[in-house]
Amino acid sequence: MSRKIKVMALSILYWLALVIVTFVFLFPLINTIMLAFKSDIDIVSLPPKLIFTPVLDHFIKAFATGGYHFDKYFMNSIFIASLSTLINLGVSITSAYAVSRYRMEKIMLQIISLRFFPPILFTIPFYIMFSVLGLRDTIPGIAIAHVLLNLPITFPILVGMIDEIPREVEEAAMIDGCGTLEVLKHITIPLLTPAVIAVSFINFVFSWNEYLIALILSSVNATPITVGAGLFIRSFGVQYGELAAVTTAAILLPIIIVISFKDYIIKGLTMGVR
């Protein structure tokens, strides 16, 4: 009997430890989301209020009436992330297939080694190159730059997932008279759908979250929400509520995407490091 109680007490303690750890990790996010819904008076009150009447003032001010253009920044982020996902897939699908099937280790190695290049290395040549090409401060420009940052992560995932598709299926189709492109179209791409979904969401989220390249390549027209939120610190003075509201908006979309497609994304991500 006492042994049973001991085991139970232990597992409760264990559980409690996990709850505390998880809470510490989530606290910064919870704090920000709470600030976004607090009224200005509640924000500055000490000790910090846990229970308060939520208000939408800060969101309305940041996204509509305050003259801050965060509605535009939000849409810019959506366009940049979507476009960079499309470009990434267009550039990498056929190539990932070739790398997987014809074992082109060299290309693979080069792409993985890109992972160790600091993004700051590319900012200076990109700034000048994109200025000359007329791509600076445009949505396609930032989208292209994001693809380069994401390729070292998404490309190995795609290759790894293509590796998992048995060759025999393709060979059977070839024997029946399909060409490589037809095999790709009718057999490989349909089988690849989970991989494409995983890579798309990973690219979307990473591009949405990116800051440095977007900060350098945008000035007025193509500013995404992460850079916009940073502007709040420097240019618009101390407005904690609005800053929290914008940050909440910037972090919520990736969280929603990852929660909805958790299995695809975790499978893809953990594949990338191998």
Partner: protein, 290 residues
């Protein structure tokens, strides 16, 4: 026939990489040896290694930011790998609500690094920061006042924030690797009467070693190159206390507008990271193979 096909299929990637990686890399070296500033972007003049000499000049203070980046990378990597490992071991056994805990723990990982700096600004704010309030509630007992973003405390604060942001990532990989450890190993050891410490030391840890090595290298390189979270939290300050290598290059090139100097500084920083890192990889690999 086959050779043509494989080249055709990989053509989009090769073209893309040539245009946006190989060309910019060459261009970066070109810039590093030329006088190029924000106002004279079109007419670079060759200046030899002047930019490199200038970058190493104490006035530019590149050395200090490199030292900061190394310090930050060593501390962050050590702490984050240890915590990630502990957390993964906690999740080894099954318990109620595990999948919910797992998902909640992954949320900081998918939050933008830049936004994490902003989140830290709100959390550790001198006037409204909840964490500042809680920390001082505790520190008040000892009659001290802690300002988390002041020069004495900014480094621990930064490490704490970076930890919250990155431990979930480390944890996820160690956890998935841990789950592929065959049960027979630990079961056999248990039958032989091994304690859980012995099992950890002689079975789990050696099994995880390759993954821990890969994660350490990736995390170290990323931490060394950190820009976002530091820039949005402190802007490199107070003073230039938290100016990392990337922030330094950003300041030189985009705040002061000296592209040539920035290019030289970014190359110096890249090689100070990559040379010790690759030597470490080669050395440990040789030892592991033995």
């Amino acid at each position: 026939m086959k050779i043509q096909r494989k080249h055709l299929l990989s053509l989009p990637l090769v073209v893309f990489l040539t245009a946006f990686i190989i060309f910019p890399t060459i261009y970066l070296w070109y810039l590093a040896f030329h006088k190029v500033t924000f106002t004279h972007m079109e007419s670079p003049t060759f200046c030899g290694i002047e930019n490199f000499i200038k970058a190493l000049n104490p006035v530019v203070d590149l050395a200090n930011s490199l030292i900061f980046s190394f310090k930050f990378a060593i501390v962050a990597t050590t702490i984050e790998l240890s915590f990630g490992l502990i957390l993964a071991l906690m999740f080894k056994r099954d318990f109620r609500g595990k999948s919910i805990f797992l998902m909640l723990l992954l949320l900081p990982m998918i939050t933008s690094s830049a936004m994490f700096g902003v989140i830290g600004r709100l959390l550790f704010n001198e006037e409204i920061g909840t964490a500042t309030y809680l920390v001082n509630l505790f520190a008040g007992v000892f009659n001290v006042h802690i300002s988390p973003l002041s020069k004495d405390w900014v480094f621990p604060t930064l490490i704490f924030l970076d930890m919250v942001h990155w431990v979930p990532f480390i944890f996820l990989f160690i956890y998935t690797d841990l789950r592929s450890l065959p049960r027979e190993y630990t079961d056999a050891a248990l039958v032989d009467g091994a304690t859980s410490w012995v099992i950890f030391r002689h079975i789990t840890l050696p099994y995880l070693k390759p993954m821990l090595g890969v994660l350490a290298v990736i995390r170290f390189a990323d931490a060394f190159n950190t820009f976002d979270i530091i820039y949005t939290l402190t802007g490199g300050g107070p003073g230039s206390l938290t100016t990392s290598y990337s922030i330094k290059v950003y300041e030189l090139a985009f705040v002061k507008g000296n592209f040539g100097l920035g290019a030289a500084a970014s190359l110096i920083g890249f090689f100070t990271l990559i040379i010790p890192l690759s030597l470490t990889i080669i050395y440990t690999r040789r030892r592991w193979v033995k």
